[in-house]
Symmetry: C2
Subunit: 354 residues, 2 copies
């Protein structure tokens, strides 16, 4: 797969569709602009789809799983085997993402892009393993450049497949014990903020572990020297396989003109890699929510994205993306289903005083 | 109806149910607390219902309609007849609240509690007219004390009826051209803030009209001298019929131990009247969102309520309440449907470092 060629095909969305959509929104039986961000979401979907009256989209959330060598540095509150155990939980439908995706009417696709060890032929799992866990970035690069590119390729391929299958709204998610650590490293390198400002408690570590986590990230960055102007270098040296998969999914979504809802902290690190490769991807991104993880806002700000929800979530998996899909879809329903002033026989005249 | 007696029956929710619910939440396959406010919503529903494993509730949104004599002072961008026209739009299913309630799986009940003129026998409309529009509060009290009490009674009666019918999640909404004006008056009187700090542009008025609106409210308050320690006096003198209906619905919901999602600025003015009559109603309140209307936050703060959504909405009707219901229900589904660590075979052991 030639990632550069795919990226070069990404187009910005067309302004005229925003304007056409706003014209209809202004004609619906409500004060102009009074549905706030729901109107924004409708406009954006119309423009991304290049369709003045889009259907309600088929929805899918991609939950990428991967392990992290750096988890051996004691940066997480959970043991590494939980990544694998949670993959089985996803496949049985018992995890948070399963519940919320059902609530949102979205499918969940679980991808092994970098979990330690083999799954053999587990039913329902998409096996696209690039690495069997990353290497410990505290001791050297997490992945080779080629592996990082392969991870991105996995995401692009999934985007292409699900575009062909008729899915029109994508969400991202992930599972990987230790993966707030590489995400904070990416956040620090690509936003230029100090590590301590973008590193939080992940699954809920103590003050002492947080201090260690910050040191580990600082040392990984000073050892590997990731190049901030080369996002693939950053992904390889201090990233992770599932983060690469998410970056690829964002690129593939944009190339297929499909909106993609990015979940929380780790998903946003993946999106930031994609954005670094091609800022036009932003036109296709919806930021689901702002996580409790402290570095999240800095990455959203870097891309100029305003989160849809603020519910103190910090689970990942795609849980915030599923919830945000419900709100985005509400915007499209407003656009499709509300009566216009003419249809409803409602006066759209100002008293002349307003 | 003896409102005082009904109010005296309102009970605070029982602490032990919060604790029991949290115990289950902590046993679900996720880091403790990582689903943030979804967990809060689940805990609160368990405690309100006094049921360790509540069913998904039947949902209904009550959209109270009323007209306002003060609209004659040129405080709105829309002519008064729009209230009536929008009632017909609600009944035909073409308004924003119809679309979003369908999205949330909630019914919409439209109540005429104070629209100007008669509707005769319009199918689907709940006719509980107390006044044919309020009087102009700039010239005297908007309603008599008896009328205000009747409006509250309408809301209580509806809460009782729908509790009997098996509905277990209520939402509030309203329609009434000019009704941000009495809502700002209530906000000023009951929060003690200056009128200019709690008065916004409503449906979207100009600077000049906003200035006039503030003056009208200030004069209405200084003329009528509503007593801040007597919420019914405030409702009568500077309130509105639909605001009274909402206050009654909140009281009736609390008395029936049913959670009630209050929509935006005007609904919150109604809830603040109810809260003034009995602060225990707070245990049953969910604040759907924070409106773009500037006085909203002050009222939410007065009751110590944190809004669920922030989507720049300012339409009313119950639109924010419908959306928030989807999020609240997501919390209950998490609680009901997620696997526990034991069920899923996922390690819930810290590495000892976290």
């Amino acid at each position: 797969m030639d990632i550069k060629e795919i990226i070069s095909n990404i187009q910005p969305v067309k302004q005229e569709f925003y304007e056409g959509a706003q014209k209809r929104l202004n004609d619906l039986t409500k004060p102009i602009g009074s549905l706030g961000r729901l109107e924004e979401f409708a406009r954006r979907l119309v423009a991304i789809y290049e369709n003045e009256m889009p259907d309600l989209p088929k929805k899918v959330i991609f939950t990428f799983a991967g392990d992290h060598g750096v988890a051996g540095e004691g940066v997480s509150a959970y043991p590494k085997e939980v990544t694998r155990q949670m993959v089985f939980n996803f496949l049985r439908g018992g995890a948070g993402i399963n519940v919320l995706a059902r609530h949102a009417g979205a499918e969940v696709v679980v991808i092994d892009v970098g979990v330690t060890g083999d799954f053999d032929d587990v039913k329902g799992l998409v096996s696209k393993k690039v690495v069997s866990g990353t290497k410990n970035m505290r001791r050297g690069p997490a992945m080779t450049k080629d592996e990082a590119i392969q991870c991105i390729g996995v995401g692009i391929e999934l985007a292409n497949d699900y575009a062909k299958k008729g899915y029109r709204l994508f969400g991202t998610g992930e599972m990987g014990i230790g993966n707030t650590t590489p995400s904070s490293a990416i956040a620090a390198v690509l936003t230029g903020r100090p590590v301590s400002e973008v590193t939080g408690r992940g699954t809920g570590v103590s003050d002492e572990v947080l201090k260690n986590k910050i040191t580990v990230i600082e040392k990984a960055i000073s050892l590997n020297k990731p190049n901030p102007s080369d996002p693939i270098d950053v992904l390889a040296k201090v990233g992770g396989a599932e983060i690469g998969g998410i970056a690829g999914l964002v690129i593939g979504a944009a190339a297929n003109k499909i909106p993609v809802v990015i979940d929380g902290f780790i998903s946003t690190a993946g999106a930031l890699i994609a954005y670094g490769l091609e800022p036009k991807t932003k036109d296709y991104l919806f930021a689901a929510h702002v996580s409790q993880e402290i570095g999240h806002r800095a990455m959203l700000d870097r891309m100029g994205l305003r989160p849809i929800l603020d519910l103190d979530l910090r689970l990942g998996e795609g849980t915030g993306a599923a919830l945000a899909m419900l709100i985005i879809e509400a915007g499209l329903k407003i656009y499709r289903e509300m009566a216009t002033f003419g249809e409803a026989g409602v006066s759209n005249k100002s008293t002349g005083k307003g």
